[in-house]
Point group: C2
Chain length 449, copies 2
Amino acid sequence: MVEVKISIIGAGSAVFSLSLVRDLCLTPNLEGSTISFMDINKERLNAVYSLCSRYAEEMGIKLKLEKTLDRKESLRDADFVINTALAAGHHRLREGWEVARKLGYRYGGSYHVMHDEAFWINFYQFRLFESIINDILDICPDAWYIQLANPVLAGITYLGRKYPEAKIVGLCHGFMGIYHIAEVLGLEKEHISFEIPGVNHFVWLTRFYYKGEDAYPLLDEWIEKEAPKYWEKCPPSNDLGPKPVDLYRRFGLFPIGDTCTPGGGTWPYWYHVDEETERRWKEDPAEWWRRYFKGLEAQVNKIFEVARNQSMKVTKVFPPIKSGESIVSLVESLACDIPRVFQVNILNVGSFVPGVPQDFEVEIPALVSKRGIQGIRTTGLPKPIISYILRDRVAPVEVELEAYESGDKDLLLQLIMMDPWTRSEDQARKLLEGIFALPYHEEMRKHYK
Amino acid sequence: MVEVKISIIGAGSAVFSLSLVRDLCLTPNLEGSTISFMDINKERLNAVYSLCSRYAEEMGIKLKLEKTLDRKESLRDADFVINTALAAGHHRLREGWEVARKLGYRYGGSYHVMHDEAFWINFYQFRLFESIINDILDICPDAWYIQLANPVLAGITYLGRKYPEAKIVGLCHGFMGIYHIAEVLGLEKEHISFEIPGVNHFVWLTRFYYKGEDAYPLLDEWIEKEAPKYWEKCPPSNDLGPKPVDLYRRFGLFPIGDTCTPGGGTWPYWYHVDEETERRWKEDPAEWWRRYFKGLEAQVNKIFEVARNQSMKVTKVFPPIKSGESIVSLVESLACDIPRVFQVNILNVGSFVPGVPQDFEVEIPALVSKRGIQGIRTTGLPKPIISYILRDRVAPVEVELEAYESGDKDLLLQLIMMDPWTRSEDQARKLLEGIFALPYHEEMRKHYK
């Protein structure tokens, strides 16, 4: 049993915090650990703290739960710092989208406009990431910084380069789309094995086995015989819809999870050129996002209802079943030296995915133990996929980071120009000025000259 | 249960073959598999085949055992080809040593003279390795080639570069010296974890944990309090003797297993400049080799005694306990898709050990599964150790391989010149001519001009 201190930045993310505490309650090796909930929203912080305390108590598990509005206090003696915070809320994201939409921008373009990693969101995230890392290096330099907050791709690249002395890793559950495939194919989850390398939100199934046998033929068979039936019932922009299947046909590898859904950038734009084309491919990113925000709201409402109602048994509403998320297991492997392989986001320092620059983020399997997080050399990706990574992921992120570092507004314009929906510099400039004109972007206006 | 065909080249190595069959009998996942024993020595082959058949029968395990003198026949439909063959026997090794010794060469010099990877042994090994790989690519191109035979360092480097289409891995049990350390320290083997990167026969303990806590302090304590007592009783040139402890003091990392013992090259020469110095460090490579050959002979004699005596129960003399060698588990992980981490020898294509050239062999942990053998990026080695790898391992092996590829005898002379005991070109030339003059080196005389 190893007692660690875990600081959660953005603990007001009720869905995340409750899920983490539930997983901790189911991890005997970490009993006795301290969880410091930190958020700047006092009301949500109190609600989450009280709910999670009730959870651990009902489970009869000893966890020291703390809450604070002061980040530095939360970081004191922390062994793990989990960042799940979104500095600028979802309403700002959507207001920006509205400006872009009116100028002719559509989903399926770059990461940086009609996606939840829009440049007007990322700017505040970079600032937050950087200030957290600086605090960690001051207060708890040996702590692991685990970033769940987006943008993982740009964030891990930026932080990894600038703070090589910090222990940084990004986690994203996008790769778990493989379990959705397993479910739909009727495969037992514990008997599948896979490799899904790439960059965050752009990961491809290079290897897929079921009970030791290549499982791609099973997927092929499902596509041939079952997919049309499945497509009649599945929601639009599904990760097993006609679009990912068509991408598989083109590239020879299946795109996993968020890789081509709105959650990962709706890549590529050619399935989204107009509504008729989207209908043909059973794509509807706008509807996908409506469902996404609605689902999130429902979850949050349910949690806060239980939080308000002291007489409800939390463990009854949220039964003690492991979430399947890797975060607590990863902490356990690092703290208790239980070597296991996890899907992580780190710099490509060992050419884990050959062809991606070595100082750029990749999402890959890694061996996690007391030794740290050690990337595993993957079988790599075919040339066309690598080329798209360079064109649609590396290139724009490099421009975005250069813009952020230099505060050069022209580079931000360049970034917008890289979006496939940009048809003229005038259109790009209107988007830039439209975003900058929103009243709450004072800080961004000051930064970019 | 996965039925595979394993071809063993050099199956007359009785100790190895019996150990492999015993491990297979203890691996239910591989029951039903075919083992093809191949050797050019009919008498030994028959004895080993009959003994191993009795073993499987006594255990009640279904294994299809076959024997053949024809390598191509053995390779047909093979999934795994294990090479444990020594083309030129130990007597030739020792006869060459005798020539060198008389010219002033001592143990502790380069790999290529007073070591079992002497150039007059490696030459025949390279030819053998290459002809096996060519046969594999012809007959069973999807098979894994698992090389246990020395030289692993030069062999994997040579084959990995020249045959990138082949599935090649080297295994060496040298790293298991860590279990000797655990035993001496009184640590339970199942609770230690470690990382021991380097190049073959030159691996260093970068990380060492016991029950999740740094175990180096336990080693330090043992060195301070227990080592002098241990040294009074341990045999000379011990892997926990005063020399490895002194190397630890110099480099900050403990050398593991063969790294500085005669089995791995007796590196470095400065502990071996004369008998008095060797005595001071409790080093006696000549005695070490005597014990080694004697122990090997005793094992072989024991095995052949049981082989001759049909009334003896083989499982009684060699009880069914797993050997601890990783070979059968590695085959199981590859064939049955059981992802596990093993210590392997592969090319450093992902800078698994930063600082070692990417087209050179390294010994590192790797994730092994149906996906293949995927190197793990290690924490790397300190600059001084990397420098010694470049000077005493990479440089001479490059010269040896260049000499072998070109057939240039002058390069072979260069190789001998790199041995620290070489004091003059004349001395080196006498060694070269002395070796070439041995009657059975016809083939080598033809190759090198």
